[in-house]
């Protein structure tokens, strides 16, 4: 009997580890007879309101809808599809239903896409962060290290304790790219300031991220940052502590902690999606890597006006100068070595 119990328990744990996320597919609205309506589907690993990666894309799509007209663009979203197999079936379903553009918003969807895209040569697929394209697949690649660099400079020149803390999710891909940028920026901003990087080992454990932030702060960090959907947990912990500040990435998170978010790296997905739509109109269904960076305004740095007095003037000047240097190509922020 005991063995059986353990077996069930193990199975449950494995299920948990493998799936990570359940799925709640919002059934897409019934197909409209209007042929000219552009149909876009979005598949998200986390939620539409994660205040990070997922939500930034959702807001980009809303902006596209607003610009082009609600009656011209239809958007359907499936969230919580961290499991690539479940995501794959959602993507296939959207393709079968005649969606024009399907955005698989996660680097983990790359291999699933390669199995599906050949069956739907008329459909445009896009995913990211990624580099591998096909005839009808775009890949998009935010230069997270650029904003990380600027935020790192800002942190180093603003920190009073001399310690900048990073609450990372899993040491891979985008998170490492961003963190590496922050580390370089801190070094540039003030070589005496230390960056302390720690990972929780999860993307969606907001309680774990909060606890990691508490440990960072207890050990002396006064400016913290971190990426992924669990970052709000760390931000909330920062927001509860006097004199501690947060730098957000992917989108501006100051709405939930106006007194503690100094600045943010913001992705402008509207421009990327608009570009995909235009390329598709011209007959290019895929095959390009779309880079997000400061140069074309697809990434931007926004400051929290409420906390403008917390950032020393020379820090802001230096950061703005570095931003111009990134735009002009004078400054290249290094990518982590593989």
């Amino acid at each position: 009997m005991k063995k059986k119990v353990l077996a069930v328990l193990m199975a449950a744990l494995i299920l948990l580890a493998v799936s990570g996320c359940g799925s709640k597919t919002e059934t897409p609205a019934a197909e409209t007879p209007k042929a000219e309506k552009l149909k876009i589907a979005l598949v998200l690993p986390a939620t539409v309101d994660d205040l990070a990666w997922g939500q930034s894309m959702v807001e980009g799509l809303k902006a596209v809808q607003k610009t082009m007209g609600e009656d011209k663009v239809e958007v359907s979203i499936s969230e919580k599809l961290g499991n690539a197999v479940e995501a794959g079936s959602a993507i296939r379903q959207y393709a079968t239903q005649g969606y024009d553009i399907i955005l698989a918003h996660g680097s983990q969807y790359q291999s699933v896409l390669t199995e599906i895209t050949k069956d739907f040569p008329e459909t445009t697929f896009a995913y990211g962060t990624g580099f591998e394209t096909q005839a009808n697949v775009f890949a998009y690649d935010p230069q997270a290290q650029e904003g990380g660099y600027l935020l790192g400079m800002l942190a180093a020149m603003t920190s009073k304790s001399g310690i900048v803390g990073i609450v990372g999710p899993v040491e891979s891909g985008d998170a490492v790219k961003y963190n590496y940028g922050v580390e370089q920026g801190v070094l540039k901003g003030n070589a005496d300031v230390k960056t302390r990087t720690a990972y929780t080992g999860s993307f969606n454990d907001i309680v774990g991220a909060g606890n990691m932030a508490k440990t960072q702060m207890a050990a002396g960090a006064d400016i913290l940052t971190g990426s992924s959907q669990q970052a709000v947990g760390a931000l909330r912990a920062v927001a509860e502590t006097e004199g501690k500040y947060w730098l957000s990435t992917d989108m501006d998170q100051s709405a939930i902690a106006p007194e503690h978010v100094l600045a943010a790296q913001v992705y402008n997905w509207e421009k990327i999606v608009t570009k995909i739509i235009e390329l598709r109109k011209k007959g290019t269904l895929g095959g390009q890597v779309l880079t997000l960076g400061f140069a074309d305004g697809t990434i931007d740095l926004v400051y929290n006006e409420k906390l403008a007095d917390k950032i020393p003037a020379e820090a802001k000047t230096a950061v703005e100068q570095a931003k111009q240097d990134i735009i002009s190509g004078k400054l290249k922020v290094e990518l982590p070595k593989k």
Binding site: V5, L13, A17, K80, Y199, S202, I206, N211, T215, A219
Partner: protein
């Protein structure tokens, strides 16, 4: 490399470890009663999610984390009742119904959040309470006596549940029902009633563990906030051999290892991150395999009770 483990750092590691142990301890002590009565409830994670949402939502609406705690207890009792109905009255296979309850709790809590809250919202959660005098003791004060009320509750429950289980007649009934339900039945103890009671108590404690995450830790709610803690709690019941002392030992071991590895990472001590994040699991598994002698479990664990048959 300023990675010297000084006095202050050790205090942080220990105090954090105690805080981290709280949800495991609450949920595992509840599950201990459930399993002692002969039922295993694998739905702890789902109940925790429901408790996490209920606690969060009541706090958000009513402005008081204490009412949040009350709400989570009610929801936990209902979830326990549901599990009792399925596994005791309808005698469904317990493993499957537990997994079902887990998925039900996950789906429902996510749905309710989407319907009634919408986006990420933060709340004023429980504040740390410094215990007068005791919190001034050097070293022990900041480690043990500067936590929120649910942390104290969880640790006070250890001797309390021990007393209930071993020194009261109800505790005797629970143990009898989990070991020899036929004998207990013959002596006039209602197996069904005791199992219902245990599942309800277990549900309440699991929900309280969930509420601790939302109103005692994160001060917000997000999908999948429990992130597998309910399953770890079930594993800790086995680790603790169905005793409160074993469970508190396992919870502390796991959580202190977790707290320690976080600090090792933060201080930049040269230690591979991949190893650091799995350290709590390794320590627990090693301790389990080294310490396990005679394997004992409630004899009737997992067997639905049917009067007139032998289990």
């Amino acid at each position: 490399m300023d990675g010297v483990m000084n006095y202050d750092i050790i205090i942080i590691i220990l105090a954090t470890g105690i805080r981290l142990a709280t949800p495991y301890l609450l949920a595992a002590l509840g599950e201990m009663f459930v399993q002692r009565s002969g039922v295993y409830n694998l739905g702890v994670e789902g109940i925790m999610m429901m408790g996490a949402f209920a606690g969060f939502y009541a706090t958000l609406q009513l402005g008081s984390p204490l009412l949040g705690i009350a709400a989570s207890l009610v929801v936990g009792a209902l979830m326990g009742l549901l599990m009792a109905l399925i596994s005791v009255t309808f005698k469904a296979e317990q493993g499957i119904s537990g997994i079902g309850l887990y998925m039900f709790g996950w789906g429902l809590s996510g749905l309710l959040f989407r319907l009634y809250v919408g986006g990420i919202t933060s709340i004023e959660g429980l504040k740390a309470i410094k215990i007068p005098l005791l919190s001034n003791i050097p070293f022990l004060g900041p480690v043990l006596f500067n936590h929120n009320v649910l942390v104290y509750t969880a640790f006070l429950l250890v001797p309390l549940t021990g007393f209930i289980l071993y020194k009261t007649s109800w505790g005797l009934n629970v143990r009898a029902v989990g070991n020899k339900p036929e004998a207990a039945d013959t002596l006039g103890v209602s197996v069904v009633l005791v199992r219902y009671q245990c599942l309800i108590v277990g549900g309440m404690l699991a929900a309280l563990a969930g509420a601790f995450l939302t109103i005692g830790q994160a001060n917000m709610y997000a999908d999948n906030i429990t992130a597998g803690r309910g399953f770890i709690a079930i594993a800790l019941v086995y680790f603790g051999r169905w005793t409160p002392w074993g469970i508190v030992l396992g919870s502390l071991l796991f959580s202190l290892a977790d707290s320690f590895q976080s600090m090792v990472q933060v201080l930049g001590i040269n230690f591979p991150y991949e190893l650091a994040v799995i350290l709590p699991y390794i320590v627990t598994i090693v301790a389990l395999s080294v310490s396990y002698g005679r394997v004992w479990a409630p004899a009737a664990l997992g067997k639905p009770f049917q009067r007139g048959t032998r289990g």
